[in-house]
Each structure stands twice: as structure tokens, then as C-alpha cells.
């Protein structure tokens, strides 16, 4: 039987170390809504989402109450809208009207984000893909809860450089469209290489075409729990350190698995995956950077950071894999800057640069995330940053992503405030040497040699 010590340990993780389930994300397939009439299409999408998700928030709250574990976000991910809207949307405005409707239904069912305003263009763009991409700046400026993502490359297909070039422009435009809110639109827009079909985390969640009609995916968190656990083994060997992280990740993930199964049962929607990612928030003590410091670094970004992060990421996976029947999504450690107080401190202290963050993305899930850069950064420079990150993902057969915010009217040394979970961030300097001639080449970068495995 459970003893007092175990109960106290669990509850301290929840109350003192910010253990929570970060998100229950309901994936909804919209392919059966396709219609060549825009009005009918929107009606079908609205009805399907509303019917599927009307009890999502209530169910999440019930589970949270019964187990005494906070479930921070309830969200929806959709089939990429470029696929669904292809036959009905003849202009960017048509796509924007779908975005508005998605925002409305998200508000109606009470979810805080709805993802899937997306296009998958890793090899080429269809007309609909391009229209959707070009509609992103307007769509994100006139909606509150819609999140957008674009997959620009993969290990199997190489990198679509035409789309990379276009996204540099789109990110800048999105920043301009939302300049009154410190270019907040860019915080809801992410580009990927090797985007997973079952990612429950925003802004990059979409419901892949390989998925069932509906699916429940859960993202757990708990950087504070890991940090606290390893603070008890300060000065011990790597073996002890790794074992401690592994055991903690196991415990954290078991909670996610439990919540996922309960949600699946109550909503009568199959359980998809648990995403093991350590996802920080701006709350003090809920930081991945603090774990790196606890491992032995003065600041995140100091020499040794990449190795420490590689170790952390691997142990989280090893502990988590055994705790859940299906693991997926991004699974690892997130290193967003604005959402992690330890990262913000490291940037302010001059310890962490964009280049160091790039090397860190080689060994952890995702990539350059929630990084505020000067508003006058050139489109081609942003495309260059994206291309570098996509190349890391393509060659290393992993997911990488870029979510940078060129904050209009602000420069290095200033701070931007997004509020809530999105946090605040100092503007980071960007290497300003030109890559114009590279980015303006047309076509795509071929898939790497090790992708030919057939």
C-alpha cells in the first residue's frame, strides 16, 4: 500500500516543484470536411470541432481535480488547413476566413490554442500551400488562439529552399502585422524540419494525415522536479546523476500516462502518445536552464552546455520510455528563451548566444525557440537562420524548428514582453553578415545520402 512518504513526495512535486501536465491536446481529422464550397466547408469544420471538443475542457478539469494534478492547457490540433481548404480557398482571404472561424470555435469550446493552420511543404508547394503560407501574417494578426506551422524539410526529402526563402518574408510580415503587440504573431508561428504528426505542444501541433479520426496526445512537464532531484546528488558521479534524472523522468511520465488514459476513456477518443518533453515556463523554478546549472554550469551557454543538455535529453527519454506505452511527439527537453527564466538570465549575463543555442538544438528536441531578435533583421538573414536549423534536423534525422520574433522597432539591449506562458525576452544579437546570394538560389537542397535506406 502507498505510504506517507510517497504521498508527501508526489504532493511536494506538485505544490513546490511545479509538476504539472502541460497539455491535453485533442487531435481532430478534418479530411472528411473537405468541400469545394467555402461556406459549407467552414460549417462542417466548425461542427466537427465543436462536437469533438465540447467536453474537452470540462473533462480536463475533472481529471485535474480528482488526481490533484494541474492540467495547464487543453488544446486542439487539426489536419493541416492547406490540405483541407485546398479545393475551397481561391485567395489568401479565403484562408483567413477559415482562421477566423477556428479562433471562434476555439473560444467557444474554451481551449487556449488551436493548432494546424499549417502547410507541409518539405519537397514542394501546391497552390493551396502557398496561399495558406501567404495568408499567415493576416491570419495570426486577426485571431488570438490560432497557431500556425510550416514543415520546410525532412531527412527523406531534403529542404525546400523556395519555402525557406518565403518563410523569411512571412515571419517579417507577421511581425509587422502584429507590431502593436510587440510582434506577438511570430510567437504563434513555427517552421519545422521533420515535423512529427503527433506533437501535442504549440505552436507546432497539427493532426497528421497518418493519424486516426480523433486522438488524445498528452504533454508532461516537470523541469522543477528534475532540478530538485539532482540537487540532492550534487558532486556525485555521472552515473548517479543520470540514474537520478532517469528515475525522476519515469515518475513524471507515469502521471502523464495516467492522465492520458483517463482523458481517452472519458472522452471516448483513443490514446495516441505521451510526449516526454521537459517544457519550462516563465515561473521561477520551472526552468530547463536551471537544471543545466544544477548539473554544474554557471549559466546555460557556458562551455559544457551542449554535453549537459545531451545527457539530460537522453536520460529523460530513457526514464520516460518505460513509463508510457506509447511515446511520441517531440520528447526531450525544450529550450525556449522567453519561456524560461534561467535562459533569460543567461542571455542577460552574456553567457548564451544564438550560435550556442543553435549547437544546443543538435542534441535536444526542437530548436531555436521563442527567440526575440532585432526588428531590422533582414528577411534573408531569417531564411539563413532557418536553413541552418533545417540542415541540422535533416542530417541528424531529428525534428528541428525555428520560432524567432523579429520585434518591430526594437533592438539589442531592449526587452520584449509577451505575457503569460509566452514570457518575456531580451532581444538577442544576430550575425549580420549577408547570406543573400545563398538564400536567393532557387529549388531545394537534396536529401542526405544516409536517407537512402531502402
Amino acid at each position: 500500500m502507498i505510504n506517507l512518504f510517497e504521498v508527501v513526495e508526489t504532493n511536494e512535486m506538485i505544490t513546490k516543484e511545479n509538476l504539472d501536465v502541460r497539455t491535453i491536446t485533442l487531435g481532430i481529422n478534418l479530411l472528411d470536411c473537405i468541400d469545394s464550397d467555402l461556406k459549407k466547408l467552414m460549417e462542417k469544420i466548425y461542427n466537427k470541432i465543436y462536437e469533438a471538443a465540447k467536453d474537452l475542457v470540462k473533462t480536463g478539469e475533472e481529471i485535474s481535480r480528482e488526481f490533484g494534478i494541474p492540467i495547464v492547457n487543453k488544446r486542439i490540433s487539426l489536419t493541416p488547413i492547406a490540405l483541407v481548404g485546398g479545393s475551397a480557398c481561391k485567395s489568401t482571404e479565403d484562408f483567413v476566413s477559415i482562421a477566423r472561424m477556428l479562433d471562434q470555435v476555439a473560444r467557444q469550446v474554451g481551449v487556449n490554442f488551436i493548432g494546424g493552420y499549417s502547410a507541409l511543404v518539405s519537397k514542394g508547394m501546391t497552390g493551396a500551400d502557398e496561399l495558406l503560407i501567404r495568408s499567415i501574417p493576416k491570419a495570426l494578426s486577426c485571431t488570438e488562439r490560432v497557431c500556425s506551422s510550416v514543415n520546410l524539410g525532412s531527412t527523406k526529402t531534403g529542404i525546400n529552399m523556395d519555402a525557406v526563402r518565403l518563410m523569411g518574408k512571412i515571419i517579417k510580415e507577421t511581425a509587422r502585422y502584429t507590431e502593436e503587440q510587440d510582434s506577438l504573431g511570430c510567437a504563434k508561428l513555427v517552421v519545422f524540419c521533420n515535423a512529427p504528426d503527433d506533437n501535442p505542444f504549440m505552436a507546432g501541433a497539427f493532426h497528421g494525415v497518418t493519424e486516426a479520426d480523433k486522438i488524445i496526445n498528452v504533454g508532461v512537464s516537470g523541469p522543477g522536479v528534475v532540478k530538485n532531484a539532482i540537487s540532492k546528488v550534487r558532486g556525485e558521479s555521472f552515473e548517479v546523476l543520470c540514474e537520478t534524472i532517469k528515475k525522476t523522468a519515469f515518475k513524471v511520465t507515469r502521471v502523464g500516462q495516467l492522465v492520458a488514459q483517463e482523458a481517452s476513456e472519458r472522452l471516448k477518443v483513443p490514446f495516441g502518445i505521451v510526449d516526454l518533453s521537459l517544457a519550462p515556463t516563465p515561473a521561477i523554478g520551472d526552468s530547463v536552464a536551471d537544471i543545466l546549472c544544477e548539473i554544474g554550469l554557471e549559466y546555460a551557454g557556458a562551455p559544457g552546455t551542449t554535453a549537459a543538455l545531451a545527457l539530460l535529453n537522453d536520460q529523460v527519454k530513457k526514464g520516460g520510455v518505460m513509463a508510457s506505452s506509447y511515446v511520441g511527439g517531440l520528447s526531450g527537453a525544450f529550450i525556449p528563451v522567453s519561456e524560461d527564466q534561467g535562459m533569460i538570465d543567461a542571455v542577460k549575463a552574456g553567457a548564451l548566444t544564438l550560435e550556442k543555442l543553435e549547437s544546443m538544438t543538435c542534441v535536444c528536441s526542437v530548436g531555436l525557440d521563442m527567440i526575440a531578435i532585432p526588428g531590422d533583421t533582414k528577411e534573408t538573414t531569417i531564411s539563413g537562420i532557418i536553413a541552418d536549423e533545417m540542415a541540422i534536423g535533416m542530417v541528424n534525422q531529428k525534428t528541428t524548428a525555428v520560432r524567432v520574433i523579429p520585434v518591430v522597432g526594437k533592438g539589442v539591449g531592449e526587452t520584449v514582453e509577451f505575457g503569460g506562458l509566452l514570457g518575456h525576452a531580451p532581444i538577442m544579437p544576430v550575425n549580420s553578415f549577408s547570406c543573400d546570394a545563398f538564400v536567393s538560389r532557387e529549388g531545394r537542397i537534396p536529401a542526405p545520402i544516409h536517407s537512402f535506406k531502402n
Binding site: I2, L4, R65, E66, F67, G68, R254, Q257
Partner: protein, 90 residues
């Protein structure tokens, strides 16, 4: 059997267990196990209870116990046992 873990944490005072047990008895909640310690004058108790015969909803019980805790000056939490089981047992 529907097992729930009730934890009571707070400054020690006369009658904490009595008040909680009276509530449980009144709602047909059977106590299966109690353990309790006092650390630096802080009262720390855990009860494993069976809520099978309880007629109220879980949320209602949790709210009422929470309010009872506020009256006594302690923090009372109710959680289904699975969260602890999953976390601490393979």
C-alpha cells in the same frame, strides 16, 4: 473499491482527526488506513479511504473537506489513489 488518499497538513491542534473522521463517517466513507506524524509542530496525516458507498460526487467531497480544513486551519487534499500508485509502483 474506489480508493482515495486524503492528506491533512497544517499546524497541530486538538481534534483534527476527530473532525475529519466525523465527516467521513457521515458520508459513508470507510477508512482503510491512517498514518500520521508531527514534524516541528506540523501535523502531517494521510488516510486511505474507500469511497464506494459515498453518494456525493468526488468534487463535492473534495470541496467540503477543503472547507472543513479551512475551518480547522489545516490544508486537506483528496486525490484518487492511482496517481500515487502509478508514480511509485512499476
Amino acid at each position: 473499491m474506489n480508493r482515495t488518499i486524503i492528506t491533512v497538513v497544517g499546524k497541530d491542534t486538538v481534534g483534527i482527526i476527530a473532525r475529519v473522521c466525523t465527516y467521513l463517517a457521515g458520508n459513508k466513507i470507510n477508512i482503510l488506513d491512517i498514518s500520521q506524524t508531527i514534524v516541528q509542530e506540523y501535523f502531517n496525516m494521510m488516510m486511505i479511504v474507500d469511497t464506494n458507498r459515498m453518494e456525493k460526487h468526488f468534487g463535492e467531497m473534495a470541496d467540503e473537506l477543503h472547507r472543513l480544513g479551512e475551518e480547522i486551519g489545516v490544508d486537506i487534499k483528496c486525490q484518487r489513489e492511482e496517481i500515487f500508485d502509478k508514480m511509485h509502483r512499476i
